[in-house]
Amino acid sequence: MAIRSSDPQQQTSGGQDGGPRAPQRRLTGSQRETLWAVVFLSPWIIGFLIFMAGPMLWSLWLSFTDYDPLVPNTNFIGIENYQEMVSDPNVRISLWNTVFFTIFNVPGTIIIGLVLALLLDRIGRAAGFFRTAFYLPNITPAVAVGALFLLLLNGRDGILNQVLRSVGLPGPSWLNDPAWIKPGIILMMLWSVGSTVIIYFAALRNVPQVLYEAARVDGANAWQQFRSVTVPMISGAIFFTLIINTIASLQLFTEVYAMFFGSQQSGAAGEAALFYVIYLFRNAFEFFNMGYASAMAWLLFAVIGVITFVQVKTSKRWVYYEGGE
């Protein structure tokens, strides 16, 4: 990529034929900055094109084929894979499981994350320890988390049910009763709320204290301060976590696969733990229906795209950006 010099002399010099040249447009400072930004971003852009956009477009093509990685011939079959998804009960079941999980996990993560961040914000010097403690689950390998929760959630001797029984509540069978498997998985994922806590904590530290002082002068109580000052001022962070947690929830895989489909090949959970990406993975790498799995991936992409679009559109009503219009 050639970068035009900003030297006025070079830009106004004549052509080889010595005749008058068309006046060359001089880049403004902003354009030059953009150009340099593109230059510096180009490694990422090239990587994105090769390792992300390319495979994505390839998978889009595969979604219209009967591609089986073990068979040399691949046939174009139009929208057959998409039609098959409509009638595939496992797609419906796995999509419902995933949406159910997302509906509870995302608000749960936001609420618990915010409560913990508010507590962290108030405890002063001890916050450092608790920040680390809250974040530790996020750096625990997902398979280890799955294995750990197989112990914690055991319906008979698991710690959770022992606690519930100690207060007179009957502990459900979190791992084997289809009605309680998804709630159990939601509990497990809420354990990894640490990254959301850290984001909220950072956002809370940026709320100007003067706003709280003004609110107190106006007679606002704690709840009113929280509702009218804190929430609007960290709404950008809430919006961010809403988007990333929604996408992550819709792509849930590793922990559940490790718990119910990995070593536990019997799949005792049955359909209750069949999440969308798990079914996609099984189609691709166990059943070798790579074309069908590609179509499933694009359906998920579309679902995520629509949900994200709605979230972005509605955000204009409730997200406050300092310095924004």
């Binding site: 073990l70 068979v71 197989l150 069978s173 084997n176 019997s266 799949g267 359909e271 166990e286 059943f287």
Partner: protein
């Protein structure tokens, strides 16, 4: 590209090809395979790098180490390396897709049909001739799993058999005789299950009989004289009434424990591989299980008081469900002759016997019961188990004898072009029934349709 450039590229390509071809010349003179590796009459080159996928070799495993060492000794010019884990589809597909398949692959015989149907694995006709392998030494049930239309595609390695393991103290406490209980009589099994189950109020303290669902449905179905798939692996028979009956009965064995969830919640707490395993801790009275678990028991609780009995059909015929792994050579493997020598060495009788002898020495040194090595090679088994001395552990001596006798009556799941989908279909049906989501006949009928569609599609 100019003609000059084209010429340059052509020359460079030729030079690279020559260089690649010439690489082997630096190797020592090739050795002839055969002899101890199977008595081959033809001399072939066994040299160069060899990559084995799916074996997950660890030198702490004496049975693997002795066999690999033997190959390395016999063929020092062949440099064999191994993948770090057992067989996984994802990396195997990546290797195939990248045009760099492994030289040999170790995979489950239950799913090998999928790869045979897609032409991924090479027929072993040439290999069998090269190494002079006598295929008659392999157990029929094992050989059937790797043979399609009369062509052998893999050499069976281990032989895994399912047998009943019964806890003598639990049976005696319930006034039952573990040696003589009629295991072909399903009513007797159900009655014994009631008697053997131990509860304290709502708390389950011992499971009577664990039917091992969903994974052991084929065993119950065979016991009911109904194979779940045709012999050629192309027709699902899940809709057969005998399968539904087997599912209904085996699932009913969960009831005395208070239902499936209580049953599974309790089972999940067992120290399966530890000293306080379910038999040692009196948490289970009986279950059908793979014979390798006897090795676990011998290792962690050698004094456990058990009786091993063969599984029986309802007509009283003892039988077992056999499976295990097998060694195959991908069709596009770059060093098939050397790979053939390797898989022949890993599965021939002499190598097995040598490995078993090392295990015997190690166990004797540690004063631990040695239950032998269950290979798919009958010739090897005859020698390995001939001199087995379990006098100090009569409980395991009886167990080993039972396994040896019943593995002659092994049944196996035939190679199917859609093995994984077929299995997924019936497991889903069993889970649906176990969770109260459907009746056996209806669930299996739906599974049958799903499985057949998958088989038909894969066969095409």
């Amino acid at each position: 590209m100019s003609p000059r450039h084209k010429l340059l590229v052509a020359l460079l390509t030729a030079a690279l090809l020559l260089a690649a071809c010439g690489g082997g010349e630096e190797e020592a003179a090739p050795q002839a395979s055969g002899g101890a590796s199977g008595g081959s009459e033809s001399a072939v080159e066994v040299s160069g790098p060899l990559f084995a996928f799916g074996f997950g070799y660890q030198s702490g495993d004496e049975i693997a180490k002795v066999r690999i060492d033997r190959f390395r000794e016999e063929f020092p010019d062949a440099r064999v390396t191994f993948s770090e884990s057992g067989f996984e589809e994802q990396p195997f597909l990546s290797a195939l897709a990248s045009g760099e398949p492994p030289d040999m692959v170790n995979m489950s015989r239950n799913t090998i049909g999928t790869f045979i149907a897609r032409g991924v694995l090479a027929p072993l006709d040439d290999c069998i001739a090269q190494e002079g392998i006598d295929m008659g030494v392999f157990y029929e049930s094992a050989l059937a799993q790797v043979t399609v239309d009369g062509t052998v595609y893999a050499l069976p390695e281990f032989l895994n058999s399912r047998i009943w393991i019964l806890s003598n103290p639990a049976f005696e406490e319930a006034g039952l005789d573990p040696q003589n209980i009629d295991l072909s009589d399903w009513e007797a099994i159900a009655d014994a299950n009631e008697q053997l189950t131990k509860r304290n109020g709502n708390r389950l303290n011992r499971i009577g009989i664990d039917p091992k669902l969903p994974e052991f449905l084929p065993l119950w179905s065979w016991a009911n004289d109904t194979p779940m798939i045709s012999e050629d692996g192309l027709t699902s028979q899940l809709e057969a009434p005998g399968v539904a009956e087997a599912l209904e009965f085996s699932n009913s064995l969960h009831e005395p424990a208070g239902g499936r969830t209580q049953f599974l919640d309790f089972r999940d707490t067992w120290d399966f591989f530890g000293e306080k395993n379910q038999f040692a801790a009196d948490q289970l009275a009986a279950n059908p299980y793979e014979q390798w678990y006897l090795n676990v028991l011998a290792d962690v609780s050698p004094d456990v008081d058990i009786t091993v009995r063969p599984f029986e059909t309802r007509g009283g015929e003892p039988f077992t469900w056999s499976d295990g792994n097998a060694w195959a050579i991908p069709a596009e493997a770059s060093n098939p002759e050397a790979a053939c020598a390797f898989i022949a060495t890993m599965t021939n009788a002499e190598t097995w016997i040598e490995a078993a002898e090392v295990r015997t020495r190690n166990r004797n040194r540690d004063n631990e019961p040695n239950l032998g090595v269950y290979t798919a090679n009958r010739e090897a088994d005859e020698v390995i188990f001939e001199d087995l001395n379990l006098g100090e552990w009569p409980n395991f001596e009886q167990a080993v004898q039972t396994v040896l006798e019943v593995q002659e009556n092994g049944l196996s799941i035939p190679p199917s072009p859609a093995a994984a989908q077929y299995e997924e279909a019936w497991i889903s049906a069993v889970n649906e029934v176990m969770t109260g989501g459907g009746e056996p006949a209806a669930a299996l009928q739906a599974a049958d349709q799903e499985a057949q569609e998958a088989i038909d599609a894969a066969a095409r």
